[in-house]
Symmetry: C2
């Protein structure tokens, strides 16, 4: 099945209230219970709509799932933009701002739920992993790489491979608790500031040209 074309053909339809109801209900149920454990009956009930209405708007369960995921990826991408006034800041506060917004975004319930869903179903929908990666983690990584490129051009950091350093920095931020959160284990958000400071301090120790 070509999910993209299926999705786009649905999207090209006129705006419709029930269509949104269905997408919202499906989103909530897919995210909460996963693809396999969510029935079309449950979605219809949650959306306060008949099953036939769902099938009038979507070609089937898989297409509905694809539409929900695409929409959710777009929403997340919209929240992940890095501000462009970072170059005015010194290295350390700029990295700290990146780190904190990264942690907030990555550990939001929205991001975690979507990531769980995509990981779970990426075997069934192979292109889903790519779409999600490009929408969220890949997009953020590209932003950080661009920032590091700028800092290197300004001579404030010294490194060969900005992509490697950016991946290392974001990985250090995720640390162990990203995995914990993904597995549904408790994560204490109160430590995020300290986590960010530690990751920034490590980055500075390795790559900064002058003591910051």
């Amino acid at each position: 099945m070509d999910m993209t074309s299926t999705y786009l053909s649905s999207e090209s339809g006129v705006h419709c209230r029930k269509r949104e109801q269905v997408l919202d209900a499906a989103r909530q149920l897919f995210i909460t219970h996963g693809y396999g454990a969510t029935s079309m009956d449950a979605i219809a009930a949650e959306a306060d709509v008949s099953k036939a209405t769902i099938y009038a708007h979507h070609d089937g369960k898989e297409a509905l799932f694809a539409a929900v995921t695409h929409r959710e990826c777009r929403r997340i991408t919209a929240r992940m933009a890095i501000p462009d006034d970072l170059e005015a800041l010194a290295l350390r506060p700029a990295l700290t701002r990146i780190a904190r917004s990264f942690l907030d975004a990555v550990f939001s319930n929205q991001s975690l739920s979507l990531l769980r869903m995509v990981v779970a179903e990426s075997a069934r929908f192979p292109e889903l992993g790519r779409i999600f990666y490009d929408s969220a983690p890949g997009y953020t990584l590209a932003n950080v790489i661009a920032y590091l490129d700028g800092m290197r051009a300004l001579g404030r950091i010294q490194l060969d491979d900005c992509e490697q350093a950016a991946a290392q920095f974001l990985g250090a931020l995720r640390g162990d608790i990203h995995l914990r959160a993904l597995l549904g284990l408790p994560v204490d958000a109160a430590n995020f500031d300290a986590l960010a400071d530690e990751a920034v301090a490590t980055f500075v120790a390795r790559y900064a040209v002058a003591p910051q």
Copy 2:
């Protein structure tokens, strides 16, 4: 359902050839297609056994899944032990050895498949996330923390929080590609050595007492 007790009650039975066949077949199918997409019929066919035989050994599909997951977690734990002669090495080569074995273990198809499966089903089986975490990532983290504690006692590194530093180190190793691999995107294992070297270099730059 109490998965642990269910599992243990099954385990206490006598060894049985068909029982192993069932577990092996279920393991392969669950890992390949996920819980929801794997039918008991398929498991029976793969194990060359009748469905009734499966139900003679396991209380149902959920119990079978629990048994498979527990067994797989135990197998992974057994491969994750860190050698205890690390203290004889200097900091940098010791960390490099830890890093490489970590990357090999974490990016093995076995680990990735199991992690995907657990992430997918941790909503349905809440205790599964805890069991998996303790068996693999938590176990490895504890080993690294123990090593860092030893290095700190020897005065070779300087840091307040070994747990934080260990999580940061392992996170930096995972970088972005662990997520990529989890989403089914291609990962180039040829870069693992360079990845390990970079993460070690960063750790040394931040925490080592004397230049290594």
